[in-house]
Structures are given as C-alpha cells and as structure tokens.
C-alpha cells in the first residue's frame, strides 16, 4: 500500500500525467506483489472506458463550448447590468451574477474566468476598482461554474459513486445559489465601505429587450437540461444531446455566433477534452481495484466507525482533506481518487452520498482557485498581469462565502438533500 502511494506521489511530482501516474503506480504494485494479476491491466482499463453513462460528459462539454462560442457572455453581462448596475459596486455584482448564469450554461470555471474576466477585469480597472479586487472577484465567482448544475464534475462524481445525476444536480442548486448570494453580499459590503462606483449605462429599449430575450434563451437551456433529467423525462445522456442540439440551433440561427463549418472542430475539441478525463477514469479503475483488493475503503470505514465520529465531524474532517487535496490536484482526478476511498465511510455513518457529493464538488471548486495549482488563477493572472498571490488575496474575502457554504453543507444536510428528496421522494 505504501509503495502504491509513494510511487503515485513521485510520479505526480515529476509531472507524469495523472492518468499515467495512477497506471505506473498500479504497475509497480502488480510487479512487486502480484505479477500473476497483470492480466487485469487491459480488463480494468477497458471497463473504465466502456461506460454508457459517461457519454453525457463530452456532450455537456460540447454544449457549454457551443454556447460560449456563440458569444453570449456580453449579453449575460448586459443582463446582469440591468439588474445590478445601479448598486454601489455594481460591476462586482455584475461579475458575480454573470458567473452564476454562465456557470449554469458552460459548467466550466476556467472558461467562466476567461470569458467574463477578459471583459470585466479591464472594465472594473477603468472604473477605479483595484486590479486585485477585480481579478479576485472574477476568480472567486467562477467557482460557481462547477457547483451550479448542469456540471461536468457532478457527472463524474455520480458515475464514480453510482449515484443519480438528477439528484446531485438538484443537490448542487441550493449551495451554488448560496455561494452566489454570499459573494453578492460581500461585494456590496466592501463596495459601500470603499465607495466603489455605481454604473450609469444607458441602453435603448431595443437593446434592453434584445438583452433580456437573448439571456432568457440562454437561461432556458440549463433549466431544460436539468429539468428533463430531474423529472425523469430523459437520461443524462439524452438531455445532454438535447442541450447540444439546442445550442447548435440557437448558436447558428439566433445568436449567429457559430458557423456551420466550425461545428466539426467543436465536436473534435469536446471529445479530445473528454478523452483526457476518460483516460484518468479508465486507468483509475486499476487503482480502485487495488484499493479494494487491499481493503482500503473498508479499513477507512472501520476506522471512522471506531473513532465514533459524528456525521458532522466526519464531514468537517473530509472538508479539510478535500480543500487541501484540491489545491494540488485537478478536479477530475481528485473526484476519482477521493470518492472510492471515503464514500464507504461516509455511507457507513449514515451520510447521504448526495450531501458528500455536494461537499466534494464545492470543496474542490475552492481548491481549484487556490495556489499553487489553479487554472482560473493563471487565466486571471494573464488578463490582469498580476501575481497569482495578489489575485488570491483579492479573492479571499469572496471565498469566505464558499467556505461558509461548505461548513453549512456539513452542518445542515437538507441544503443538499432537500431538493432531491422533494423531487425523488427518497433519501
């Protein structure tokens, strides 16, 4: 077991891709202890690739990509401006609210930072906001991309934990909105304290109507996708396929941002992005197999039971582990590594896997914007020309909103379980 973990750590540190780090450490284990089991290698890897439920993954990636490519960001920002522009620190509120909408559409924190940050960070700077604040709020608000459904990490968790995608979509809704609201409040408090400006954009009636119409068209999509899954009208795969078709139609004919000739490229890009996650899923099957061979999940569950930890205490401990892991490991591999180890223990003490899933995704979202590893931070650094440390300092007050939500998820299970129970009727 120690050999497995040490070899994995070494491989990760020297920059071997996560998927192959898992594979190499598994190979090391097999060659050292169980060479007769090498035949397992192709079988387990194939079973990881051969998953019908994961087809939703590239489709959701494509759906977000197409909506993003169709150039809706400016409309979403304009729409947010209509609602929050007149408040002090209006641009900060616009930034957070636009991320809430964008999160539901794209499901990706890094494209959220790139799209919204590229427009709003320079704009906020021009309007007298400190650069650190502008970049910080952009990065912190991008965390909602993963938490507000539909979300790619949620699908990944559901497949790994064998949970219903619809339930977790619903489970993520309240925490996602709460983070947004906390960040809005924090922004308003800071803005009044520092006397940040209001926005005085004047739009024509036609522009306002066009903005509302476009934003509503974009907003319908996540609602439709989540709705069809939750109501059992379609599976996650089918709703994702519908979402893709909707994005294509809207992008081609309504927003006119996508060209037909660019569609194949978008498909290629989406399947390639998905492949880099699928190879981790596939090879992690070896790792998970070894973990269960060694009885690790059971060992962890037994230890937790023997410590007599209450569900809240266990979740708080796990929250800290997730936050630390998230600062070093990317979201997808973190989900694949943490879930099989801790889920049995979580279930053993009576915690809902949906509550754990909500905590895991929300926790990893914070990790994704914490140095040293954080694509969102790098993107914001490239836009604002600030050091990552400075951006993180700017993001810290807003991340308090995330941390408070995480703590509340640990202490108040209905935050994540109420909606799933309401719609599905069972725990």
């Amino acid at each position: 077991m120690i050999l497995l973990l040490v070899s994995l750590a070494i491989c990760l540190v020297i920059g071997i891709p996560v998927a192959f780090s898992l594979g190499v450490s598994a190979l090391t284990y097999f060659l050292t202890y169980r060479p007769e089991l090498l035949i397992i290698l192709p079988q387990r890897i194939f079973s990881g690739f051969n998953s019908e439920s994961m087809i939703a993954l590239p489709l959701f990636i494509l759906m977000g990509q197409l909506m993003n490519d169709s150039g809706i960001t400016r409309r979403i920002i304009d729409f947010s401006n209509l609602i929050f522009g007149k408040l002090k620190g209006g641009l900060g509120c616009i930034n957070v609210f636009a991320s809430m909408i964008f999160g539901g559409i794209s499901g990706s924190s890094s494209s959220d930072t790139a799209s919204i940050g590229a427009i709003l960070i320079p704009e906020m700077e021009k309007r007298g906001y400190p650069k650190e604040f502008a970049a910080g709020i952009t990065v912190a608000s991008s965390t909602m991309g993963m938490i507000i459904p539909p979300s790619v990490p949620m699908i990944l968790y559901c497949v790994t934990a064998e949970q219903s995608v619809g339930k977790l979509f619903l489970g993520g809704a309240i925490p996602g909105i709460m983070i947004g609201l906390f960040q809005l409040i924090i922004n308003i408090v800071i803005s009044y304290k520092r006397d940040y400006p209001k926005e005085n954009f004047t739009y024509t009636k036609k522009h306002i109507l066009a903005t509302i119409r476009t934003s509503l068209v974009a907003l319908v999509m996540p609602l439709f996708v989540v709705g069809t899954v939750v109501l059992g009208i379609a599976t996650a795969n089918e709703s994702a396929a519908f979402g893709v078709m909707y994005s294509i139609v809207v992008g081609l004919f309504l927003f006119k941002g996508i060209k037909l000739k660019n569609l194949p490229k978008a498909f290629l890009q989406a399947i390639k992005t998905c492949s880099s996650i699928m190879i981790i899923i596939a090879i992690s099957q070896l790792y998970i197999w070894i973990l269960s061979l060694e009885g690790v999940p059971q060992m962890v569950a037994n230890s937790v039971i023997s410590f007599n930890l209450t569900p809240t205490l266990l979740l708080t401990t796990l929250m800290l582990i997730i936050l630390v892991a998230g600062t070093f490991i990317d979201v997808s591999p973190a989900i694949l590594l943490i879930t099989p180890v801790f889920l049995p223990a979580v279930v053993a003490v009576g915690i809902s896997p949906i509550q754990f899933g909500g905590l895991l995704i929300a926790g990893l979202a914070v990790g994704a914007v914490t140095p040293p590893v954080g694509t969102c931070l790098n993107v914001a650094a490239a836009i604002s020309k600030l050091e990552i440390g400075a951006i993180f300092r700017g993001a810290t007050p807003f991340l308090i909103g995330n941390i408070v939500t995480l703590i509340l998820i640990c202490f108040i299970p209905p935050l994540t379980t109420y909606l799933p129970e309401l719609f599905y009727g069972i725990k």
């Binding site: 192959f20 490519d69 494209s111 699928m278 650094a381």
Partner: protein
C-alpha cells in the same frame, strides 16, 4: 528518415482527428435520435445504446492517445515548470520512458485477453466482444509510438512540444483565445444590431 516519420505522424494525426470527429458526431446523432424515436414515434432501434457506447470507447481511447502526442493530458506541472530547461528535458524524457513501459505492459497483456474473449458475442448486435476491446491494444500501441516519437522530438525539435512554454501558459493562452474569439463575434453582432437600430 526524420521527414518520413514526421509525415507519418502528421497523416496519423489527421486521420485520427477525422475518425474522432466522425465517431462523436455519430454518437451525438444516435443519442439524439434515440430520444426523438422514443417520444415522437414511440419506437426504438435495438442495439443503438450498445453501438454508441462502443463508439465512445473507441473515441475516448484514441483521443487519449492523440492527447499524449500533444502533451495535453492533465498533470501537475508546477514543479516541472520550475526546472531549468536542460533538466526539464531529461525529466520529460524519463516520464515518457515510464509511460511507455506502462503502455507496453497494457499492450502485451491485452493480446491474450483479446484472444480469450473473441468468442463472446453481444446478444443484441452479435458483435464479438473482441471488436470493441481491440481499442485497448490499438490505443496503447499508439501511445508507445508517441512516447518514442516525443522523446525524439525533445532533442530534435523541442519547439513542436512547446517545452519552452509552461503547460499552464499554454492552457491560459488557449482559453483566452477562445474567449476573445467569442467576444469578437458578440461585438460584431452588437455593432450590427446598433447599425440596424440607427437606420
């Protein structure tokens, strides 16, 4: 010799890209078609799910191989990027060797495994299990080739692997380019709307 290998690499990349694209478009159409058939025509085509799952397995595995060629797999590059270029080259070479060894074992073990399952057939489509499972030796065989090829590139043509640029910078550049392209479209459309309005 160098030119021949490069040409082969270019052709293989192009072919795999086309295969991936076509397979994913087929998957999308099949899944979409499944819903339409069920809700509109109250019918379904037997075995569709099995076929698109097989296509997904193929495309994911082949895509993963191509991603290795372009050094685009998810990794923790923060320590690697801090190394001096000369040391970085050696470490990346070592990494490819290690990955290559792993892929070799998977490839080697997949051959007897394929042989053992070739007689199993799907009850719905009648397709041999070996047909879908063959993707493992194909993808991992390609990965072995790309490991060797990339090791050569590190010393012969490092620019092609973007070794001078950190992985984080490459990712950021790509994201910002995409965002800028989308924003240009939005601005162009807004301008058009505005012109229409003033007319």
């Amino acid at each position: 010799m160098n030119r021949v290998v490069r040409k082969i690499d270019k052709i293989v990349n192009r072919i795999v890209d086309i295969i991936l694209m076509v397979m994913f478009i087929m998957i999308f159409l099949m899944v979409f078609n499944q819903v339409v058939l069920r809700y509109v025509f109250n019918t379904s085509i037997m075995g569709t799910a099995e076929v698109f799952t097989m296509l997904f397995t193929y495309s994911s595995a082949l895509g993963a191989a191509i991603m290795l060629r372009h050094r685009e797999h998810i990794k923790i590059a923060v320590f690697l990027d801090k190394l001096p270029m000369k040391v970085k080259k050696y470490v990346i070479t070592f990494n490819y060797l290690v990955i290559g060894v792993f892929c070799f074992f998977v490839f080697r073990e997949s051959l007897p495994w394929l042989n053992s399952i070739k007689t199993f057939r799907s009850q719905v489509t009648g397709i041999s299990r070996a047909v879908e499972s063959i993707t493992i030796p194909i993808a991992f065989g390609m990965m072995i080739f790309y490991c060797i090829y990339n090791i050569f590139l590190i010393y012969l043509n490092p620019e092609e692997l973007h070794l001078e640029t950190t992985d984080a910078d490459l990712e950021v550049k790509e994201l910002l380019n995409e965002a800028a392209a989308a924003d240009r479209i939005a601005l162009g459309r807004e301008k058009k709307d505005f012109q229409g309005e003033t007319k």
